[in-house]
Point group: C2
């Protein structure tokens, strides 16, 4: 842990233990700097982290205060998944979530959909339309396997923000992050191989392991600092692990950003045991902090990190444009991408390349980050207000997903069935585990503009959960 | 073989043996009907086949004549691939073909690109543009794993033309035929499994087998009737073959249409040995005959045929929209599609669905079929005129690919290198074999409008081939 995180943790625990009460003024930046012998900027970083966690609120010219109105639910417990590689189950639940045509009458709290109604996306639509009317109809032609050069150039530039220096030739454009992940996994692993994953983990990546005949070894994961390095090290000692697959930035579903020091330590572990890292950064550009967090890839020196991402969460998923920076596995990933789809659709690539080149992406990101951050606060408030006592929830540092944990023994599969009658849909926790753990958890999406309809939906989730809990104890 | 094919073969061999000479009038339909005891329509079908093969030409109100001006090159020899399963090689040559950004100064005779400059594609572009300006921006949203229902309905309707009765729910939309093929192969096979393929065979499908760790068993293939059922039966008796992967309609690269009786016989074989058939029909809608040929799938009763296709050859490859009708393997293919790309880009699906629904597809197909058929005749004429004596070539019955065979020992890799200096590119024959056979063959594309520039390019291929042959014998 870095200095500022240590300090934030210390202050945070004092606040949570009631040493500082709601409405209290917190120590000044200068005072803390002197008290702990750290720089002013370290204290400021610590306060920003506390702010993101809802534990401190700045007031202009008066410093930081403990927020009066908010009492945050406790953090989710660290999961205790099986300590051995398992065959992945839960496909039936995933396909149930993914197969149904979204019903406009159902409030979709379960899916990974960003808000695509923002006016900052208009230039992208204009470009798509312009390309369709273009005389040469470039969108009709095959692209190359690696993807349009204009887009690879823009992605290489974008990656600088996360500390990555890769050339356009080091990139392969993919049909969404899905193809980036599956091409990466297939480039490295054979059926029967073991892949270590953060737990809870993105179900899409786990179902890819399942589909390709690999086993997942779920590693306990802290809701603030990410995958447990201690547990991972033990696992690496014990099992012939081929790769580590994880989402260190704005994790799906937990929302944490893994501290830089832990990212470096993870990379050192991977080097020591000579395993590859498949890093999913699909929410990384939606971190609420500025500048955005670095990727593990940005510290990579021997090309063992395959960085996978896409524009599905930052722009729109229907475009199906992602990428992978596969390091030393480039040739193999190219082969896997070629056999998977040949090439990626041309027109969306050209439109996105032009959107980025014209400078529309950064203002769009700024707007979405702000919107999602405010929506997160509201969503946590609603959970506090409407969910049964004892409900825990995550503190997303980016993205638009909230992880909610109900008491042990609670069954979110039953909850989901009951909610569908009320036209509300959630993502059940069990799909985020290879072996169906986290049945008492669920994931909710706070991407869309917070309307009374969304609030009512969240309220109905909370009420239904309370009912089920009462029935259970009756 | 059916009656009309028997008759066509008989007449064809009489013409080729000089029994009828160029300019001669051929027997009347009525006379042949009486002579062979077959119906008038059977004779007419036989003549149409001869016409497609360039062996007979109709003159209005005077019957059929042996074409005076054309002397067709001989057919390619039946390949003699290895009689055992092999690991697939040639990836380096395939990626060389697929990776390079098409240089507008190079005449691309090697790639699988249709002509996308036809005005009959305009309504599709208009629809793409309209969708981009649509208020609800439907193209930005995730589609379901199976694909847009509106498109699945249109594809189900389209499949009726090839004798297939499948419901929209039996279909999975894919990101091009590539994804249909790789999802199908992965749904059935494990690494190490053996797949029988027609030979020469589409390199994309073979590279998929390679990438997934399977072995290919190349089956000798007749340039007129397709995969040898006799050789296939022997192979099925001898090896634990898991699936048969082939392109029976407008084969790539040979251009034949497998006769219906042989399609049925192939299916019977597959039933007897209980193997799946992966049928690539991507050129099937471009057959020069009307109505278009039936698929093997159309005879399938127990769901063992996975029919793979796309709009890449009929509309435009840059859209990346294909489909698979996976029969009894639906659930497994859905999983494979999900892990490969999640879902297919939404907007091209919607645009194509609307293009089909509005009735634009059939007129477009009619136009392209006519254009490609005329271009085929020209291309064969150019090969006759400009290539060294002894050059053989295929008789494409649809699509836009010509297979050219030079004398034994000729090296098309050397030819290709020399041609690139002259800004002409071909597809070398060796990529169509798992083990690098057909080095003396090449494939040329005749999709684009036959311009003097294209003729000059074909001429330069012929001249360069003659030069190389002379150098070789010197």
């Amino acid at each position: 842990m870095t200095l500022y995180m240590n300090l934030a943790e210390l202050l945070g625990s004092r606040i949570e233990q009631g040493f500082y009460r709601p409405g209290d003024r917190l120590p000044s930046v200068r005072a803390l700097s002197v008290e702990h012998g750290v720089s002013l900027s370290t204290v400021q970083q610590a306060y920003r982290l506390l702010e993101d966690n809802g534990l401190a609120a700045p007031r202009p010219k008066s410093g930081y205060f403990v927020p009066a109105a908010r009492q945050l639910p406790a953090l989710p417990a660290i999961g205790r998944p099986a300590q051995r590689p398992v065959d992945i189950s839960q496909w039936d639940q995933v396909i149930e979530l993914m197969r149904s045509t979204p019903d406009p009458n159902v409030v979709q709290l379960g899916r990974g959909m960003p808000d695509v109604a923002s006016p900052t996306l208009k230039p992208l639509m204009r470009e798509l339309s312009r390309l369709s009317r273009h005389q040469g109809m470039p969108g009709l032609y095959y692209d190359t396997v690696s993807g349009t050069e204009a887009l690879r150039e823009q992605v290489a530039r974008l990656l600088l923000d996360s500390g990555c220096h890769v050339s356009p030739n080091d990139l392969v454009i993919t049909t969404g992050c899905h193809e980036a992940l599956s091409s990466s996994i297939r480039a490295i692993c054979e059926p029967g191989d073991i892949v270590a994953v953060d737990s809870p983990s993105f179900f899409g990546a786990m179902q890819t392991l399942k589909g390709l005949g690999m086993k997942a070894l779920e590693i306990p994961t802290d809701p603030i600092t990410g995958i447990s390095l201690e547990a991972l090290e033990l696992a690496l000692e014990q099992w012939p692990i081929k790769a580590i697959q994880l989402t260190p930035n704005c994790n799906n579903p937990l929302g944490y950003i893994m501290p830089e020091a832990r990212k470096r330590a993870l990379l050192t572990l991977a080097q020591r045991f000579d395993v590859a890292i498949i890093e999913d950064d699909v929410y990384g550009d939606l971190a609420f902090h500025y500048p955005r967090p670095r990727t593990i890839k940005s510290f990579d020196e021997d090309g063992r990190v395959l960085l996978c991402s896409s524009f599905s969460k930052t722009l729109a998923p229907g475009l199906r444009v992602g990428w992978v920076a596969p390091g030393r596995y480039l040739e193999r990933v190219l082969h896997m991408k070629y056999i998977s789809t040949g090439s990626t659709a041309t027109q969306p690539q050209l439109a996105i390349a032009s959107f980025l080149k014209e400078g529309h992406f950064e203002p769009h990101l700024r707007r979405m980050r702000g919107q999602y951050q405010r929506a997160r606060d509201l969503m946590i408030d609603w959970v506090t207000r409407y969910f049964p006592a004892g409900t825990r929830c995550s503190r997303p540092q980016g993205g638009f997903m909230l992880w909610v944990e109900l008491p042990d023994g609670f069954d979110t599969l039953r909850l989901n069935r009951r909610l569908l009658e009320q036209n509300v849909q959630i993502a059940v926790g069990s799909i985020f585990s290879a072996s169906g753990k986290y049945r008492n958890c669920l994931r909710m999406n706070f991407a869309s503009m917070p309307t009374p309809q969304v609030e009512a939906a969240v309220k109905s989730v909370g009420l239904a959960a309370s009912e089920l809990l009462q029935e259970q104890s009756a």
